[in-house]
Amino acid sequence: MAASAHADQVDLLIGTFGVLVALLTIPIFVLETVFAIRYRTSREADREHAPVGSNWLEFSWAGIPFVLIVGFFVWSTSIFFQIHRPPPEAMQINVVAKQWMWKFQHAQGAAEINELHVPVGQPVQLMMTSRDVIHSLFLPNFRIKQDLLPGRYTSLWFEAREPGSYDFRCAEFCGTDHSVMGGRLVVMQPEDFAAWLERHSEFGASATLAELGEKLFRDVGCSGCHGPASDVNAPQLAGIFGRPVGLSDGTTIIADEQYLHDSIMLPNKHIAAGYPPIMPTYGNVLEPEQVNALVAYIRFGAPVRKEPEFGAPLRKRREQ
């Protein structure tokens, strides 16, 4: 049962391609049986000057399918680009997969395991990473899936059309309990979702993800160097998200989730220009959930030091 506009498009694409497959295969079945019956050795048939080749026939039955399929290629690639272009107003939820369970962190602080509550009609973008092996979040009703890689962010977005409960499953083999590593996506009316958030924010994490991040920012010692009051020569993080950062080898890179994740877990991978590579690695200290919280904090809550040092933001900052 298709549950989003995208799913309808994919169904249409699969359906029409199926028709093309039928158009290209049925003649073969038919011709095989017809020739096998008509030209059986025991039957009289006109077997004179059987053709042994014709160039235009070869080019036609090779070229025409090729052209038709190129048409399908253009159509399917346009849908593929839609999959990888989430709308800017999408609500962001962090996903962490680990051997054989899914953990979801809402920006508003709620966290849930093997279940995800989202409002209907609102595009949702999942920022996903894995703690151990490669998993793959597969939403059959939405006709989408995306692998989750350790040490890397990948994204998946969808917009549910009707409220209801849809299954999601792991599609990339990840070990013993791969086949039971699934869960339920619960799509609710916006007001029900808001009520659900309230209930869960009270009981669950007491703060939003960014506030959790701020607490971690102090606890693990980031503020020692990156805090507004520190005198250590370390880059200021306020407002850095989404802006180009100059690196020591002259290239620039957009300070996105991946850059912040790498700078925490592999500090020497991209060294900011003008700063010594003295940052210790947090590779085996922090879990991906904690890194997500820190990234949320840097993005939404980092206090501003007296004078911001980076150029104009490349894209509009997203207000929470």
């Binding site: 690196l247 020591s248 080898d249 290239t251 592999l266 500090p267 020497n268 991978k269 991209h270 060294i271 590579p277 690695t281 590779g283």
Partner: protein
Amino acid sequence: MAEQSRAEIQFHNIDRQREADRLGMLVFLASEIMLFGGVFLAAFSLRMLSPDEYVSASSHMKLWHGTANTAILLASSMLAALAVEMASSSNPKWAGRCLWSAVGLGIVFLGVKAHEYYLDYLDGKLPGAANAHFSSEFEQLFSNFYFTATGLHALHVTGGLALLSTAALRRSARHDCHAILIGNAALYWHLVDIVWIFLYPTIYLAGASA
């Protein structure tokens, strides 16, 4: 061979069999090139993903050991080619001498490589060694990759030396004016040299700078 020599029962004439042997060796070398292709693809991916860390890790390599080794292997490769030239102009004495000097230089190459490994061990760059310490994860990864790649190459150098030595030891090979065995041994040696020619900039020159 108990039956007639392979040429009569197998091939219609002797030179068709020579062409077959040489083509066989070249096809085998094509598969060896693809094997090392995988190693270079790994290096390419490391350099793509973290370019500046790759350069800084490469700058810790012993440039002069690498350069000396390249010079040695190029000279040894030339000697192997000379051996083929000597054998085909029916000069077996010189063919033997060139082969043995090529083998000698090959051993020197392995010696320099062993010395470099030893120095790396002293610097604590040998992965898994007790005193192994690295300034960053990537440097450990680069050091691991360096030992894997040059180790695999050293294995092929040893194999090449064995082939060259058998060619040098066999009287019939040196007196064969078509130099089939010497030719194939030299072909393999040249491939080992070409692999090193590309391994040298990948590992040493990336980080070499004033």
